[in-house]
Symmetry: C2
Subunit: 114 residues, 2 copies
Amino acid sequence: MKNHEECKSHIPPIKDVLDLIGSKWKVDIIIALSCDIHRFNELERQIEGISPRMLSKELKDLELNRLIQRDEISPFSNTFKYSLTEHGWSLREVFRAMLTWGIDYRNKVMVKTN
Amino acid sequence: MKNHEECKSHIPPIKDVLDLIGSKWKVDIIIALSCDIHRFNELERQIEGISPRMLSKELKDLELNRLIQRDEISPFSNTFKYSLTEHGWSLREVFRAMLTWGIDYRNKVMVKTN
DNA sequence: CGGGATCCATCGAGATACTG
DNA sequence: CAGTATCTCGATGGATCCCG
């Protein structure tokens, strides 16, 4: 067992991850992007329940934090594609860990708070 | 690349994890518990800024979801210890993935939203 | 020691309508 | 097509005081 100072040093990077992907639609968006859905309207259709306002906001957050990038498909076309950056892709290992744990948890426990 | 239905099936278990550990103090509490801090007042002192109200609430959530357990230290002592259950401990692999990614992210990017 | 009860400010997020 | 602009409201969480 470690001393508490060392333990505490683990907290900020972990909270960074939660800040980056913890808001309501970030996981949906990242997974959709990883699944070859790239356009705003595609995302809006595929992510059930999201409003354009929230989609726009979440995309901006993700772009600001360099998890995704936004590129014009062809010059002056006014159509854009969103895609994961390398940082975004590297999140998959975190997702994999959460997925594995989450499935196991669902099988064994499943007492939801909400 | 997979079809989107398969992708989507990954979302709920991942969101479960975020629901379980995403609120403000959960990570702090779980890490403190994993670091041999077990008593209510110890937790309150070590987790800087938490109020007894929030500590109490978060502990109850975690207990309800079977990530921690609460045991009386000796009968009728009115002193309790909180500790991680097996499920709680198994979260460490998720934390490890987040920690690794988070440290890497801090080194390379660090544009915080807030 | 280990909490509970109340009150209150903030903020995340939904609904709806509109725009270049 | 790819977003903005308002308005609204419930949940989250802080502050403070109290209790057995």
